[in-house]
Symmetry: C2
Subunit: 176 residues, 2 copies
């Protein structure tokens, strides 16, 4: 609380005056982060684009958002794992991640034999995993592969093109 107050240029008493308690402050921060983040992601998920373009569009923009909020993912993950119930209470009146349209789109592509059969949920998780994971493993990746801060950012930026290529390569109907 002291550190937060210092950074905000006020004192602890003021923090308590505004937010009543540390817990309430936390919830406010968390909610605020999500309020900003979720709508953007939903917009990407539900953009009106053909499947392959949508994957490219999603990954490119999602990674950009992640790079602007590089500490958010590990913050969210830590708190959610500490307190899984909080997720329910924080999201219950709000917009969640809306994956229905995207799932249907994937299933349609399978039916039309544009792509090989795949469970939409598995595909979506693969896509999100490849976007988010490197960001939260940042220090480990830098260590294992001997990257500088700059090299790491470069590495992530390359993934904007690399991940869609990787995914589309995998799912597109193979020539028989």
């Amino acid at each position: 609380m002291q550190e937060i107050a210092d950074n905000a240029g006020i004192n602890k008493a003021m923090l308590h005056y505004y937010f009543r308690s540390k817990d309430k402050l936390f919830d406010a921060v968390f909610e605020d982060a999500l309020k900003d983040f979720l709508p953007k992601v939903n917009e990407l998920l539900n953009a009106e684009l053909p499947l392959f373009e949508k994957i490219e569009h999603f990954v490119e923009n999602y990674i950009s958002i992640l790079l602007e909020n590089i500490y958010l993912p590990s913050f969210i993950i830590y708190e959610i794992n500490q307190n899984p119930e909080k997720l329910t209470s924080l999201l219950k009146n709000k917009k969640d991640l809306h994956t229905e349209i995207f799932k249907r789109q994937i299933n349609d592509a399978v039916k039309k034999k544009l792509i090989d059969p795949i469970d939409p949920v598995q595909l979506i998780i693969n896509m999100i995993a490849m976007c988010i994971f490197p960001v939260i493993w940042k220090p480990i990746i830098m260590k294992i592969f001997g990257m500088s801060e700059k090299a790491f950012i470069e590495f992530i930026k390359l993934r904007k093109k690399e991940i869609p290529r990787f995914i589309i390569n995998s799912i597109k109907k193979s020539v028989k």
Copy 2:
């Protein structure tokens, strides 16, 4: 410390007697977890298997290890992000993740035109991302896709086959 002492069936004073400080206790726990984990992962990374089989072997066994230590990944990620310097000091005298052999193997496969050109580091990160990420996003995935605990574990187990299929589909030389 009280909670740890209780679970260990001793008292706080004993904890301090053994470990000197909370910080030292933490380091001991962390080191212990890594000492157990890293050698197993290195073994999987350096198994003497052809590329595709190695990917299957790695993913299958890595996910099994993760399921046995389902809280470890988010614990490690949180602590490393809090304290990136600690990673260096904890690993400096120890075996790190050894990716050299695997990287060479991937490059060889590219040269022999067994697979499409790809940066080995990107491929390795993709693979690890798809394995670890769902485990640390567990509560969020359960919420978004309405899974029970049991359904989630089932979902992860399916990925033992799903991920290698997805990767190999992506990298294997396309028919021209």
